[in-house]
């Protein structure tokens, strides 16, 4: 047996920077870092030069200047005397409201379409296939425009609702009338009754945003009833575990869930304020403009088509064996769906579902096609135009979109980690 000689001294040679696995990765990373810094420096330098040449500077002061333009959909008070900063907030809220309602609608549409696509009913399955394929394969901008055109071109005008004395004399009907006497869909907006309180609690002003105490109280009651219902259901489950029989719960649940809030609303004097034709337009009630509706409808239908595919794939991914095993154990189809198929399918469906939510949120920026004043329309549109601050507006706008996306995707990752199937 020959013995190994002593290990050679580990002297550092320059070539080790490249050949030695210990140093090589540092060499590469430092090289990349240097290149990156050079690149960033180059860009910064160019930017400074360009700004100087065009006589501009970087400043976000415009956010505190008067905006001067009007926005027709405002979730918090805004007038043309408000600042650009506030206009931006309006934009963000408008983006979020489309995104959130759109996600809900798209989920409903997608789940229904996905399930119907798997239905045994040939006709319905075919219709759903056509829906999914048509929507998925045509640009969403077209759908937004089509929705807008459809709403504006095919619906009646406010004055078609008008009933004049002559018409009553002649016994004529107006050309259009409100749905259930409460909802008016016109070529320019959808007007629905607004809930109004006759004995509201006072309103507080917090950081220039008015906060209605009535609303807070309502919210609190809802939260409490939901929690109470939870407690109730846990108790029911406990009873089931004791006796094996689950007590009938639905009406008690309903009572606990809705009773208190309804009582509160009645106490505060809730009634509906119906839209009424006054002058050129319907007044009173809540007016939902068509840019919003068109964007919402188009995005929900478009994203719904994708979600339908995810749902279908998710359900199909659960092998037939699972439902057969459940049936063989004597579970009814409904129970099998709830206890066996859905919990598994959801694991498959939810990750792509959330990335669809992300897409929908980003696609709200296409409201530009119908003039919807979301974040892009306010900060990245009119504000940018009126102030000429492209750099600041774009950076701010991308930053906000990024934050929204990152929040959504971190929720996705947390969920994925939580439901991962355990394997050996």
């Amino acid at each position: 047996m020959t013995l190994a000689t002593d290990a050679p001294k580990d002297v550092f040679r320059l070539s080790m920077l490249i050949y030695d696995t210990r140093y090589r990765s540092y060499t590469i990373q430092i090289a990349v870092l240097v290149l990156l810094l050079l690149f960033l420096g180059w860009i910064t330098d160019n930017t400074i030069q360009n700004l100087a040449e065009r006589g501009k500077d970087i400043s976000f002061n415009f956010l505190w200047q008067r905006a001067g333009y009007d926005i027709d959909q405002q979730l918090i008070p805004y007038t043309n005397d408000s600042t650009h900063g506030r206009a931006t907030v309006i934009g963000i809220l408008n983006t979020l409201v489309v995104a959130i309602i759109g996600c809900l609608l798209a989920t409903v549409i997608g789940v229904v379409a996905g399930v119907l696509r798997l239905s045994k009913n040939w006709l319905v399955a075919r219709i759903m296939t056509v829906y999914v394929e048509v929507f998925r394969n045509i640009p969403v901008v077209l759908w937004i425009i089509v929705a807008s055109v459809f709403l504006t071109e095919t619906q009646p005008q406010p004055r078609d609702f008008k009933v004049t004395d002559e018409m009553i004399m002649a016994g004529e009907e107006p050309k259009a009338s409100m749905l259930f006497g409460a909802i008016a869909i016109t070529g320019r907006s959808t007007d629905i009754p607004a809930p109004v309180l006759s004995r509201p609690l006072p309103t507080l002003e917090i950081a220039t945003v008015p906060v209605s105490l009535s609303f807070l109280a309502f919210l609190a009651v809802v939260v409490v009833s939901v929690m109470a219902n939870r407690r109730f259901l846990t108790r029911v489950t406990a009873v089931q575990e004791e006796t094996g029989v689950r007590p009938v719960t639905w009406w008690k649940s309903l009572l606990i869930l809705f009773g208190p809030s309804i009582a509160l609303l009645i106490a505060m004097g809730l009634h509906l304020e119906y839209p009424e034709l006054k002058g050129f337009n319907f007044k009173g009630g809540i007016s939902i403009n068509h840019a919003f509706s068109a964007l919402l409808v188009a995005l929900s239908l478009y994203t719904g088509a994708f979600i339908a595919e995810n749902v279908r794939a998710g359900i199909m991914a659960i092998s037939r064996g699972q439902s057969e095993a459940a049936f063989a154990l004597g579970l009814r189809p409904g129970r099998a769906m709830k206890l066996v198929i859905l919990p598994q399918a959801l694991r498959v469906i939810i990750p792509p579902l959330i990335s669809q939510y992300l897409n929908l949120t980003k696609n709200t920026s296409l409201g530009i096609a119908v003039g919807y004043l979301d974040l892009r329309g306010t900060l990245g549109g009119i504000t940018m135009n009126q102030t000429g601050r492209e750099m600041e507006c774009m950076v701010l706008m991308m930053g906000i979109y990024l934050v929204i996306s990152l929040i959504v995707s971190s929720i996705m990752n947390a969920y994925n980690n939580a439901v991962k199937l355990r394997e050996r």
């Binding site: 490249i18 050949y19 090589r24 990765s25 060499t27 590469i28 990373q29 090289a31 990349v32 870092l33 990156l36 860009i43 160019n46 930017t47 030069q49 360009n50 700004l51 040449e53 119907l116 239905s119 045994k120 009913n121 040939w122 006709l123 319905v124 219709i127 394929e133 048509v134 998925r136 394969n137 045509i138 640009p139 969403v140 901008v141 077209l142 425009i145 089509v146 055109v149 071109e153 992300l358 980003k362 696609n363 709200t364 920026s365 296409l366 530009i368 096609a369 892009r376 990245g380 492209e390 750099m391 774009m394 706008m397 991308m398 979109y401 990024l402 929204i404 996306s405 990152l406 995707s409």
Partner: protein
């Protein structure tokens, strides 16, 4: 228990199922009316279909194909179908179809984009079918015939036509005899397409190609003493120096000496589907290598590189494409040296490329993750270096698995090219439609251009998505 013993002496022949199990009756019972709920659904579906058809069919049927403006259209509909009827005015499409397809590309040069499209499809063949001779032949043959027909209709002149016929015959022959050789066309296609679409001096594309030559040269010269990764970096730097600093003067000089070229077309003349394809195909094609690098970087164990790649990917995926397009038009100018200003289309393509690279990186990462670790180990154990292992072992497998994902990225991107209208480019959906409707003759026309453009989008995207589903199924079976 001998009473339970039984032997069949005569085998029973199969019988036809009972009447209730056969034919239309059974089909209807099972597929339309199997339960109360199903019956309700069927009736509702039927009502919907009937309503939809009744609402739109007359409009289509009353369509006018031949009129000089919208007023004439309306008169013809009035005359043919009475005062209450509505009708489509397809005459607009008839007059302006070329703008929807080609934008303002010179009409006598339409053959160039058509030829480029034909070559694109041919050069995809080796990627899609690898070395399957029959599939290659069918694809190349069909494409050749269709392209030749289209070219003949555009009538670029008999001499050119004969030339093209020869070219496609040659390609078809290659597809049959040596399908793998088509890869050369694939590699040359980007420059070929550039030369065809933009025209101008032939030296430009050759100069660009020379850059890749320099990259390869520097890499192979320095590989032995710098190691593969560093050598790659050196090659890239050298090529960048060539492209950014040297190339223009050399090609200008060469063009001065030997002026070879065809009529140049400015990129602002690009529009319609030509523009959509140029942006879509270039961006996907160019983003593939970047996407691969990002995906590799994201899996790298070097912290800095990984962080950079993750940061880039997450950033791009977190912002809407339209903001990226606005950056291309509004901000890119700030980041580049003063006075350097290049073509809007080019700027848009560059940013869209980075955008889609981030998405492709995720697709490819999925493909890489699907590879068993053993493949890397086997490559290591055989002594292949990093790039060799990537090129010969890892990428061919990872990309094959990723093809469906890449195709759907492409579909998404292709649809999203319509957004360039918002930065002033002539996309088919909004850009061309807007200018067409600004014409006094067609003012007031609405649905027809959208239907026309939508139908083309649908045909292209649906075709591709079906194809990628087919591929997915095929890959599933041969990956057992």
């Amino acid at each position: 228990m001998s009473d339970s013993s039984f032997v069949r002496t005569q085998m029973l022949p199969p019988e036809v199922p009972p009447l209730t199990e056969r034919g239309l009756v059974r089909w209807m019972r099972e597929n339309l009316f199997s339960s109360v709920l199903n019956t309700v659904l069927t009736l509702a579906g039927l009502a919907f279909v009937i309503y939809a058809v009744a609402a739109t069919l007359p409009w289509f049927l009353n369509g006018v194909w031949n009129a000089k403006d919208i007023k004439e259209c309306r008169e013809i509909v009035l005359a043919n179908a009475g005062p209450e009827a509505t009708g489509a005015c397809w005459a607009l499409i008839r007059e302006r179809w070329h703008q929807f397809l080609f934008g303002f590309y010179p009409a006598d040069l339409y053959w160039r984009p058509v030829l480029a499209l034909g070559l694109l499809l041919v050069s995809l063949a080796p990627l899609l079918y690898y070395s399957m001779r029959r599939a290659n032949l069918i694809l190349v043959g069909t494409v050749s015939v269709l392209t030749l027909i289209a070219l003949a209709l555009l009538a670029p002149g008999a001499a050119l036509l004969v030339l093209f016929a020869g070219l496609f015959a040659a390609l078809t022959a290659v597809a049959w005899y040596a399908p793998q050789k088509l890869v050369w066309l694939t590699l040359a296609f980007p420059l070929l397409a550039f030369a065809l679409l933009w025209g101008g001096s032939v030296w430009g594309p050759i100069g660009v190609a020379a850059g890749f030559g320099i990259l390869a040269l520097v890499y192979s010269l320095t590989k032995s003493f710098l190691g593969v990764v560093v050598a790659t970096g050196a090659g890239v730097v050298a090529a960048a120096v060539w492209w950014l600093m040297v190339q223009t003067s050399v090609t200008t000089a060469l063009h001065g000496a030997i002026p070879l070229g065809i009529q140049a077309v400015n990129s602002d003349q690009f529009g319609g589907f030509l523009l959509a394809f140029v942006i879509g195909v270039t961006a996907i094609g160019a983003s593939l290598p970047i996407g691969i690098l990002l995906a590799l970087g994201r899996r790298s164990d070097m912290m800095l590189i990984k962080t950079l790649c993750v940061g880039f990917i997450e950033f791009v995926r977190g912002v809407p494409l339209i903001t990226v397009l606005f950056v291309a038009t509004l901000l890119l100018g700030y980041f580049l040296p003063p006075q350097s200003n290049f073509d809007l289309i080019l700027r848009v393509i560059i940013l869209v490329t980075f955008f889609s690279a981030a998405y492709l990186a995720e697709v490819i990462r999925g493909g890489l993750a699907a590879l068993p670790k053993g493949q890397y180990e086997a490559a290591d154990a055989l002594g292949l270096d990093y790039w060799q292992a990537q090129r010969l072992i890892i990428m061919p497998q990872a990309l094959k698995v990723s093809i469906p994902g890449i195709v759907s990225s492409f579909i998404g991107l292709f649809k999203d090219t319509t957004l360039v209208a918002f930065v002033g480019l002539m996309d088919p959906l909004k850009g061309v439609t807007t200018i067409v409707r600004a014409d006094v003759a067609w003012k007031g026309i609405y649905w027809e251009p959208y239907i026309f453009v939508g139908a083309i989008f649908f045909a292209v995207c649906f075709g591709m998505s079906r194809y990628s589903m087919y591929l997915e199924r095929k890959l599933k079976t041969d990956h057992r």
